[in-house]
């Protein structure tokens, strides 16, 4: 017990000292980056992945001599746990800005939290680089200090349909009708709305518009319905359990769709999904991915980061690790150009960001540059097709690995 108390005492002293030096160090010998993400509660796995990505990037930058424009200043990551709750996220943001004197911040995954945390940061004139929050509102409020390198919600539906349109042109064969099968809560319904709007512009006819309560015991009625309405392709938004069940049953019942299943991710981006299903159940399925899923094949330099991620987390590089990693490099790039750790100068440098190469593009974008609202208009996900059990990028063409030919239309079950 004595030992424990002693240990706690030492920890407290160390903590006090470190915060003292932080306040004292006005001369720039380190730049403090605050990260507010869920490290416990709902979304803790994702928050940990983001923090891991940022940590890997910062270690790399520091090992290469820090920020050269600031005389080799080192970067330091200081984490706050939002617990996935907006109010906790706000108070953690306040703590990092007020107590830890962070210069710039990143976060916070759940859109509801990010909307609040960025508001706090805006009040303290602290620049914020958004991590994986897609709600349109985040960049739609006229804030000066908020920058979003990643997708907005409406991009997802657009990418799915643009990929279908592109494949139609590429192969000279394409669909006329489509169906929607989405989970019947906020995410699924808003996605369906976006799909309907864009599909109408392109000219696809909606023949099946189906929502279901999450946690289905059986998809036979829905599959039967798809069979009788015969859409050319199906757009799906499902969480993991339902997605697993649906994919199993469409395989058992040999559901043929000429132009395939198109999932907007979530369930189909969960590593557990692919572990739970045989290869045939996902073969030829298209998935809208939030980052280039086969990046290690296209950009071999990312293999080192993949390896590091496996060491730290026990599984492979994914969209969230990549975004944490990318955001740290975006900040490093701004610091080099700002030549100062002054928050307003960092903000101005971020606004002028124009990255077209380097580690920040691990997410698979061709470019990172922010428009007047702070949104990166060059952000995009990719559409992958499961080919021989591997998720392979097929759209946009600039991201497609060499020698890959998508399968379009999809062969019927009896020909597989």
């Amino acid at each position: 017990m004595k030992r424990l108390l002693c240990g706690i005492g030492i920890c407290l002293v160390v903590l006090a000292l470190s915060s003292l030096t932080a306040v004292a160090g006005e001369k720039v010998d380190e730049v403090r980056i605050g990260i507010v993400v869920p490290l416990s509660g709902i979304g803790a796995t994702v928050g940990t992945q983001m923090k891991t990505g940022a940590t890997i990037a910062i270690e790399e930058i520091n090992a290469k001599g820090g920020i050269k424009a600031l005389g080799g200043a080192k970067l330091r990551l200081i984490a706050g746990d939002s617990q996935g709750k907006p109010d906790v996220g706000a108070s953690e943001t306040e703590r990092l800005i007020q107590r830890e004197n962070v210069h710039v911040m990143i976060g916070s995954y759940q859109s509801a939290t990010t909307i609040v945390t960025t508001e706090v940061a805006e009040r303290y004139k602290t620049p914020w680089v958004v991590l994986a929050s897609v709600s349109d509102r985040i960049t739609g409020r006229g804030f000066k200090y908020v920058f979003r390198p990643c997708n907005m919600a409406a991009y997802d539906a657009n990418e799915q349909l643009q990929a279908i349109k592109h494949l139609t042109q590429e192969f000279g064969k394409g669909p006329k009708t489509y169906g929607l099968l989405v989970e019947g809560t906020e995410w699924g319904k808003s996605h369906a709305e976006n799909v309907r709007r864009i599909a109408k512009e392109i000219g696809y006819d909606l023949v099946l518009d189906e929502a279901y309560p999450p946690g289905q015991a059986d998809f036979s009625p829905q599959i039967l319905k798809i069979r009788s309405k015969r859409p050319d392709f199906l757009i799906m938004a499902m969480y993991t359990p339902d997605h697993i069940l649906f994919n199993k049953q469409q395989m058992e019942q040999r559901l043929d769709l000429a132009f395939g299943l198109h999932s907007v991710g979530s369930g189909a981006e969960d590593p557990a999904f692919y572990k739970a299903l045989p290869v045939q159940a996902v073969e030829y399925m298209f998935v809208q991915e939030d980052f280039q899923i086969d990046i290690t094949d296209v950009a071999p330099w990312t293999q080192a980061i993949d390896k590091k991620t496996r060491e730290m987390l026990g599984y492979e590089l994914n969209a969230y690790v990549a975004q944490g990693y990318s955001n740290a490099y975006i900040i490093a790039d701004a610091l080099e150009r700002a030549g100062s750790a002054d928050k307003d100068k960092i903000r101005d440098a971020l606004a002028k960001t124009n990255i077209t190469s380097g580690p920040a593009l691990i997410t698979g974008y061709q470019k990172i540059a922010f428009d007047a609202t702070g949104q990166n208009v060059d952000s995009h996900g990719v559409i992958s097709e499961n080919l021989k059990g591997k998720r392979t990028t097929v759209w946009p063409v600039a991201n497609r690995p060499k020698g890959i030919k998508p399968v379009w239309p999809i062969p019927a079950w009896k020909d597989r």
Partner: protein, 296 residues
């Protein structure tokens, strides 16, 4: 509507409904004998799914063989929960009918604790077994496919119900259980060890879920919250079919399965759920004891 599509929908509904009925069997038995609404029912089903999953994952054992392990384990778990957690409540209220609310909260608490322990132990990941026969289907014509594991699950469900009925009507232990259900005090006067019968009944109700889990796992998934989808449905089925009635449970399951399957062909699935509850309300209204329930 196309008669073929309608036919397929009915077949799908029957296959699913049989399974619903089997899941509800244990709940009905426990309620019928002990007047205990077991809110941890979904949790025990989750155990029934996890056991064959791990046996398959770790040792490659066929889920159908796992019945030999899962059913006894679930029996022991049910027996243990009743003997250690619920029995003290009965003792405290020996003279009176058991206060429904306190037992309800108790079983709900047991369910929450076990669910979260499972979550801590295995994480929130959704898992599934991959066995080759899981995707084999019988094809009748071009549109009607019957998934073999689902057919097996249906046959098993009916078999469990028949076996349970025979057990209750033909064996000494079964008769003891029924007499305890009819009149606890009279049964005790005849020399029946009532607490022991309660333990066995609770164990039996859970053992059924052990069997159901094993026949379900080839075509379903496993996660710590998997029981939720079946929990509410089981309550509807028990009330629909008649509390404590074994054939009623299967009948209630079939009705729910067929209604779900057919209405989903006309309206979207979120609205189709409304019809299940509508039937539930109608039955409560016109036949409060359920379709096959005894008139009290």
């Amino acid at each position: 509507m196309d008669p073929i599509i309608l036919g397929v929908a009915v077949v799908n509904g029957i296959l699913l409904g049989g399974l619903y009925g089997a899941v509800a069997l244990g709940l009905s038995l426990i309620f019928g004998v002990m007047r205990v609404i077991n809110f941890a029912h979904g949790t025990f089903l989750m155990f029934g799914l996890f056991i064959p999953y791990w046996l398959w994952q770790l040792f490659g054992i066929n889920p159908y063989v796992s019945v030999l392990v899962a059913a006894p384990i679930l029996f022991a778990v049910g027996y243990g929960v009743q003997a250690t957690i619920i029995a003290p409540l009965f003792k405290r209220e020996r003279a009176m009918v058991l206060e429904p609310l306190s037992v309800l909260l108790l079983t709900a608490g047991v369910g929450l604790i076990l669910d979260n322990l499972t979550l801590m132990a295995f994480g929130p990941n959704v898992r599934a077994v991959q066995v080759r026969f899981a995707s084999t289907s019988l094809w009748i014509g071009e549109t009607l496919s019957i998934n073999v594991p689902r057919l097996i699950a249906f046959v098993a469900s009916v078999a469990i119900a028949v076996a349970l009925s025979l057990f209750l009507s033909r064996t000494d232990l079964g008769r003891s259980i029924r007499s305890t259900a009819q009149n606890r005090d009279a049964a005790a006067l005849c020399g029946i060890n009532v607490p022991q019968i309660y333990n066995i009944t609770f164990g039996l109700g859970c053992a059924v879920l052990g069997i159901v889990g094993c026949v379900m796992v080839p075509f379903y998934y496993v996660s710590p919250t998997v029981g939720l989808a079946f929990g509410v449905k089981s309550f509807i089925i028990v009330v629909l079919g008649g509390i404590g009635s074994i054939p009623g449970s299967i009948l209630g399951g079939l009705i729910l399965g067929i209604v779900e399957s057919i209405t989903a062909q006309f309206v979207t699935a979120t609205s189709a759920a409304t019809f299940s509850f509508l039937i539930f309300i109608l039955v409560l209204f016109f036949r409060p004891t359920g379709l096959m329930g005894l008139k009290v």
